[in-house]
Structures are given as C-alpha cells and as structure tokens.
Subunit: 151 residues, 4 copies
C-alpha cells in the first residue's frame, strides 16, 4: 500500500534526520511525491571551497540525495544510488541551493532519475548543475511492498 503525500514527506524527513552527514550539511526536504523530490541546502561558510563558491562536493551531495529520494519515492522500497553523473554549469554563489529530481523511468529493481540544481541569489534561481543517475533497490530488500526505511 502506498503512502499518502503527507506520510511520504514525513517519512522522507525522518530518513534525512537519521543521516548524520545530511544533518551536518543542513539539508532540508521541501517536497516529496511519487517520483519527485526537492531538497534545499542553505549556504554557510563551512560548505565553501577556496574561491568562495559552494564546494563541488556539496552540490553533488545534494544532487545525489535528491536523485535517491525521487527514485525511492517512486519505487517505495529501500534504495541506494548505484551511480550518477553531474555537470556543473555555473559557480554556486548564493544563499541557498535547491535540487529538484524526478524519476524518468521506474522499474522493479531500479529507476533512472534526473536532477537540476539551482543556486538562489537575491531571490533569483540559476541553474548550477544537472545530474542523472540510477537508483537501485537494496539487494536484500523485500519485493513489492513499501518499506519503513527507504530510501
């Protein structure tokens, strides 16, 4: 049985709160539905590299995690990111990063998802990265029913 939208978002936020690395960075789950996810990350000095931009690793963390949420919410089983690819399109200078991911194809054992990452500066969103990856059901996950612990 699949979750209600509210239950899905609540569950997603619980998962995020249980990831020490996501807590360290300060990620926030703003939306989660069947095959779509929106993660935010308020910028802070600790997330920068030497030129004053968000470190590439911060942007790729957000893309990776958004891809996983989109795939996990689409498949409703415990999942992991098997692989992904990211193109950085602009230095991430601003107050906030927003990653929006969606499932392009949902199979029984994996999904293919895409993600756009925007940097928000003075209220204006600009695309700073584009990503694409494979979200895989955890190998030993029980078959078709929803799970407590995905993604």
């Amino acid at each position: 049985m699949s979750k209600t939208p509210e239950a899905l978002l609540a569950w997603g936020r619980e998962v995020l709160a249980s990831q020490p690395f996501s807590v360290l960075l300060g990620a926030e789950l703003h939306a989660l539905s069947r095959g779509q996810a929106e993660l935010h990350l308020p910028m802070s000095p600790k997330l920068l590299q030497q030129h004053g931009f968000a470190h590439g690793g911060v942007v790729s963390y957000l893309a990776d995690n958004a891809l996983t949420y989109a795939g996990g919410a689409a498949m409703q089983v415990p999942v992991v990111t098997a692989e992904f690819k990211i193109n950085y399109t602009r230095p991430a200078i601003g107050e906030r990063l927003i990653a929006r991911a969606k499932a392009m194809h949902v199979g029984s054992s994996q999904s293919v998802c895409t993600c756009e990452v925007f940097v928000v500066k003075e209220g204006v969103e600009k695309l700073c990265a584009v990503a694409q990856g494979t979200i895989a059901r955890l190998p030993d996950a029980p078959q078709p029913r929803a799970s407590q612990e995905a993604p």
Copy 2:
C-alpha cells in the same frame, strides 16, 4: 616552470586547507604528482548515512576532489571539475577512505581523469567506487604558465 614534487604537495595541502568544506570533512592529501593524486578521509560518525555507511555524498566528494587534484597537478593551472560520473561498487564501511586519481589525457584547456575509491577496513583496502570526469582550466586563467592557486 613546473614545481618540484615537494613544492607540488605542499601547495596542494595549502589549497586543501583553504577549502572550508574539505576541512569540515577532514580530508588529507597524501600524495600529489604530475597527473596523480591520493586523498584520504578518516571515517567519523558525522560522515555516515542512516545505514551506518559513509554517505554517498562523502565518497563522491572525495572522488571529485581527487579528480580535480590529478587534473590540476597535470595541467598546473587553476582548474575546476566540469563534470564527473561515479559508480558505487560496495557500501563504504571501514576506518578510512582512499581516493587515487590519475590524468588519462591532458590537453591545454582540460584533462580527463579517472579515480578509484577504496574503503580500508582492518587494514584491507576494498574498491568502493570508480569515477571519471573532466577537469577544466578556469575560463579566465592565464594561459600556459603554472599558477599559485590551482586546482
């Protein structure tokens, strides 16, 4: 004029120390030479996800940064990662991550680099990710001579 091996490593460590995000995570540059780099990351609770493994974003951060060092040390100009792709091959459970990257092709405006990431558990290294990406000269970087601030 290109740097001596000692100068190259010293310079690389200075760059790493100037990246707040790398300091936050605790990355260490163990080796750097023309086209090759080795980055370590001692595991700590803050780097985990909810299943007790290193978060994928931690592994991809390390791969991304190692790729950048390999490309930057090969080209000896200020660089950024333009894009990369990573496949996770095994949950990263252990005391330490080690990323080893090398430049496969070095051009005047960009390099193509590959990277293997290992997780070390009880002294044994196991491959946990494989990455490949493009390291690009910063657009406004002065042409062929070495720079103080790469990668």
Copy 3:
C-alpha cells in the same frame, strides 16, 4: 548573425548528409531550433543486436548526435561532443527511434545538453534511453560569430 529557423534546419540536414556514418544508419533531422533538436532513425534489420532489439550503439549514436545538434544550434559555432552519459531504460523494439535533445546551459565555450530517446511501436512512443553530455566548441573555431559548418 543567427540563422532563420528554416536556414538552421536546412543547414543541419546538410551537415547530416555529409556524415557518412549517419547516412549509413539512416538518421533524419526532423527539427532544429536554438538549443533543441529532434533526430529520427527508422529501424532496419542491420541496426539490431542478437536479441532483435536496436543495438545499444545505435541508440547511443542517436543520443550523441542529437546532443551535438542541440548544443551546436544553441551556440551556432562548430562543435563536438566532448563527453556524454546514457542510461538505457527499455529494449528498443519498434519501427522508429526518436531522440529529442535540448540545451540546459549554454556557455561561450561549451553547452550542457540532455536528451530523451523514444522507441515508437505501433504509433506509441516509449522512453528507451536518457542521456546528458557536454558539447564543446571546436578548439580552433573562430570566437563568437556563427559558422557555416557546425555542429
């Protein structure tokens, strides 16, 4: 000076006709505009692999070429595909492949483009691959003005 839509499509078809490999496979350029391209490939027995599907190399050829057209039409200079990534989502069984690509970010020296490939069976389109890549200005291309020979 940028081309009219008609001139852009006519030019794109000339380029395609000048690629022996595209002629061998039978690709057709159906649409081309600033940052968008649609390539078709009627299926034929020579394009298959041993299971009766279009060979992966056929699907990736079409995605690669569509990415190049989208990037080339966006930048209006001679370009090449520098790198791309493709996820196959379904066996390509049908009468025709359609690749639709668009430029997500257009810079002066490169563009980042994405592409969806559909297989058409009995008139119904189904997604069979998703791709993303970097389209780069040819290194020795003259700077900002449009060119006769892109992409």
Copy 4:
C-alpha cells in the same frame, strides 16, 4: 562451470557474428577472458563524420560493446549495458580503433567496467576515448550458471 579461454573467445565471436549492427560496422573480437575484452574496428569511409574522423557514435559503439563483453565474460550470464559514460579525448583519425575493457567490480547482478579506446595511426596507438559503465544481468536470466547466449 566456467568456459576455457578458447571456448570463451569462440563463444564471444559467435555472439558478435549474430549482431547485425556489429557486422555492419566490421567489429572484430581479438581477446576475451574473465573480465577483460579487446575489440577492434578497422576504419572505413562509412564510419566517418563530416570532418574525416570516426564518428563519435562509432567510438561509443565500440566502447559500449567492449564494456558489455568484459562484464559478460566476468559474470558468465546474459547481460546488457545498463548505462555508460564516455569522454572523447582526441579525434579518431587512423586505420583502426581498439577498445580494451575490464571489469573493475563484479557482483551477482551487475558489474562495473571501464574501457580505453585507442586509435591506431601508422602503427602508433593513441588514446581517443575513456568510458565507464554498468553491465547488468538480463532481468530474467537464470541465476548462477553460465549461459549460452551472453553477453
């Protein structure tokens, strides 16, 4: 029971001969062993693009197929390429392309493989592309025993 080296190569050549697209292009399987594959492609006019190089789609076909062979020979079950990424490092101008692929990680349901593609000109090999991808067991393939029809 796994195949002898001779049987593996003979089987691989049979598979190649059964792929119409590989026959059309003229690919030759020169070596195949547990987790490693070498594919050759003699250059011919039909494989070119408009600048006189091998078309990118030709290079990516060869990389894709070599990845599949390396993964299929490592797993010894019927497989497909689930996804891959390729960086082109140099225009492919020469008499022959050689793709050498190897399995970096072999799991029960998929392998991660890497590939280098060289162009041979006047007897000298030069790297023209680097690729990395996931080779997946065909969904409905019988579990652990070797198969007649992989990859």
